[in-house]
């Protein structure tokens, strides 16, 4: 099989440790993985936020103004810009009472075509099922 799917599942809060940040930077690094692979081989990443991990997707993060570091928001937008399929667990969005307005649903402002998708947990489970490897963060 020449293309392998890797699921990056983010289950942890932002800004506690750098775990969710590293999930994003590693997913985005799939852009350059070809240099290490044979012709025709590649990796398709899929990114999913579940549980408390959905709180990474809240819009308007001012981490840069407050602490001088890039926000998870800017990383998620970069993931969309690099056409990474980005899923947010619908049940958890509902549990936390978050409206679509409150979430990072697109990155049009930086020119991304890809948009986030709010999907049931079962669909994320199916992505894990069809992935070659699951990386849990």
């Amino acid at each position: 099989m020449a293309i392998k799917k890797v699921a990056f599942v983010v289950d942890k809060l932002p800004y506690k440790t750098e775990t969710s940040r590293l999930a994003l930077t590693h997913a985005i690094s799939s852009q350059t993985v070809e240099i290490h692979l044979e012709d025709g081989e590649n990796i398709t990443p899929v990114l999913a936020f579940i549980g408390e991990g959905v709180l990474n997707c809240i819009k308007g993060q001012k981490a840069s103004d407050m602490y001088g570091i890039t926000s998870l928001e800017s990383h998620i937008k970069n993931a969309l810009l690099t056409d990474i399929r980005t899923l947010i667990c619908a049940e958890d969005v509902k549990r936390f009472g978050l409206s679509n307005d409150a979430l990072i649903m697109d990155a049009e402002d930086i020119g991304a075509d890809m948009v986030s998708e709010i999907v049931p947990f079962d669909e994320i489970m199916e992505e894990m099922n069809t992935a070659d490897h699951i990386l849990f963060f």
């Binding site: 392998k4 890797v6 289950d11 942890k12 440790t17 750098e18 775990t19 590293l22 999930a23 930077t25 590693h26 690094s29 799939s30 852009q31 350059t32 993985v33 240099i35 290490h36 692979l37 081989e41 990796i43 490897h133 699951i134 990386l135 849990f136 963060f137």
Partner: protein
Amino acid sequence: MSKLTIGCFSSLVGSMTTDFVVKLAEAARKKGHDVDIWLSGNGTMLSKKGQRSFKDYSSLEKTIKDLVTGGVNVVACEACAEARGFHKEDLIDGFGRKSMDWYLASCFSADRVLQIGGE
């Protein structure tokens, strides 16, 4: 013979996660499996040369060198290491330093991947 890639994003000292990773790698190698280890985030602390051995902490420098001699690839994330002030000259002999895509490429060719997130 199959290949196991282990990603370890956990901090070195006090947390027992790097001990876990090293012991699992040893056991897998003994059974003839290939093993790659990727250290990212605070996990890159494992790559620092000159860790002094105290009885309160497991000192893994020798074990790491034995793993490398035995054919295990042990690689630290370059950016994460630099951010912590660990430069090329600080690296334990045999320890690699690569960009994040190396880990994904290792996952590509692995039969099993164990990704250990941060605490």
